[in-house]
Amino acid sequence: MKEDMLVSLDKIQKSYTLGQKPVHVLSGVNLDVAKGDFISIMGTSGSGKTTLLHIVGTLLQPDNGTYQLDGREIGSLSDRERSWIRAHWIGYVFQTFDLITEQDVWHNVAMPYLYRGETKAEVGRQVDAAIDVVGLSERRHHRPAELSGGEMQRVAIARALSIAPKLILADEPTGNLDDDNSKEILNLLRRLNDGGATIILVTHDQHVAGMTNRILTMKNGRLAS
């Protein structure tokens, strides 16, 4: 156990069955991410980088290996406990923004709080602050359909940010954005990292990966620097 590490993966294995054939996606992945780090994981489509991200995000359980998040063994946790970890420690940003179209910006950002049980006053403060950080204070009552792609991704980042997570996981956050919006989102993530946030970003874009502190590449189910 490396005490200064926020994320510590040791010999993580994961395989799926495709038809009747097992497909080994992760074949003993080791990864250490220190607090305040900003790393990118690159790889071709189907290389297993998103699978790895979901294991780190506790949405998926590995077949073998150990995973510690901030010193806590994740593998033995129940579904309920892993949900608690996601609601309190992890902020997710997806490629397709994944906002609830029927709800406005404020309620989308406040969504994780529905599962945390905080009082309304606390929620209001945190959500407003997160919306301010991504620069969408004027659009808090707009619905996703009224926002541009870049704005929607900023809302998604605000949603991840609002809970003050230990770890932000971004899965191809600029995959659906044009260059200007991509740059804007990357700058935002960079600023958050400068402010102390730990970020793991998955991308297949060399330019995006170049914005991070460390680039890891997924190949043959293993990570390499």
């Binding site: 949405l59 949900s83 996601r86 609601a87 997806f94 029927e102 709800q103 969504m111 529905l114």
Partner: protein, 413 residues
Amino acid sequence: MLRLLRLVQVAYTSLISHKLRSLLSILGIVCGVMAVMVMISTGEGAKQKVMSTLAGLGLSNIYIHQAKQPDDQATVLSGNQVYGLTWNDIQRLEKQPFIAGVAGMKEISQAPFGMNKDITAKVVYVSSSYLEITGRILSKGRFLLPEDSYQNNLVCVLGVTISRQLGAAGRLGEYVRLGDQLYKIVGILEDTKRVDTEVEEIARENVDEMVFLSFPFSAMHRDDPLKSSLSADLNQIVVKVTGDTDVIVASEVIDRLLYLSHHEVHDYSMVVPRQLLNQSMKTQAVFNLFLAVTGGISLFVGGVGIMNIMLANVSERKREIGIRRAVGATKWDIVLQFLTESVLLTITGGLLGMVLGGAAVILIEQIAGWPVSVTLLSIALPFVLAVFAGIFFGIYPAVQAAHLEPIQALKSL
């Protein structure tokens, strides 16, 4: 609590964004609640009407009427036999330990009546115990007394309609003419206020339109036993059984007693309000079962409609489920969210059904003239059943949603 409110808010936002679909999905529940409410209200109305009718006759009473004499009966009767109810019957019945009181009645005529204007009334001789046994109430004066009979007092008691028709001449203390005799009005009965005629049909009387006189002493106590037995004295005998007696068993004993004393001729008929009530309650129980089955089927169909829509919802919103799981929702949170949506749908359907059901009940009462009774049960039961249907039929889609693997859900488009 706050969380529940947020869940309701989320559910509301989700449902309101698909207004038409939500509305169509609750139609079954609306119809189900409406049907159950209408059926309970009309069923309850009918039950109350029967109850009040039969209770008005006295549930410990037995009404014995003289049966119409068939043409061939005259040849059967001979010697001392007489067709119909007599004073002898009253005397026999009074001796029975399970009988608390007996009153006789004989219709004498529908003769011209009144001082200044002639009114057609049903004029009857009755026993002085008639008032107490039948539970009728006096509004003014007194009822007929035993001494009125002994002393041959020319006094009468009027039904309220007769009193009103006579106007000033129908007041207490006034005299009315019956044939060539003048009778003093000593009492007026209270208005029975019965709009239906069922009591009259069963008891074969409408006291509001009757004039009551005491039996002449000679009619009650004839010295000549032969003469007494030859006359068909009474049209009706009302029997009140003692409090601890089963009135239905008592009616069977009385029937046997009369049958034997009438030389095994059924020249009378009996009406037992308690028996009618029991029959009515049995009929009501069958009707209630029918209501329950019909209402249950309606709500079942409505519930299946809700489940169908919720399953479609879950299928359509897999990605949303994945996102919610990613930001920290537990399986139970997902169950609660979809369950809240289905319950919200059924509550809306239930409320709409209650409003439309209420309107339908009013229309049925106004247009069809059926007796209805909107009780707490008729409102609450269909609503509670609808909410129950929402929970019952919402559980399966909600559990389906919760058991989606977050990763698979996130891969959905």
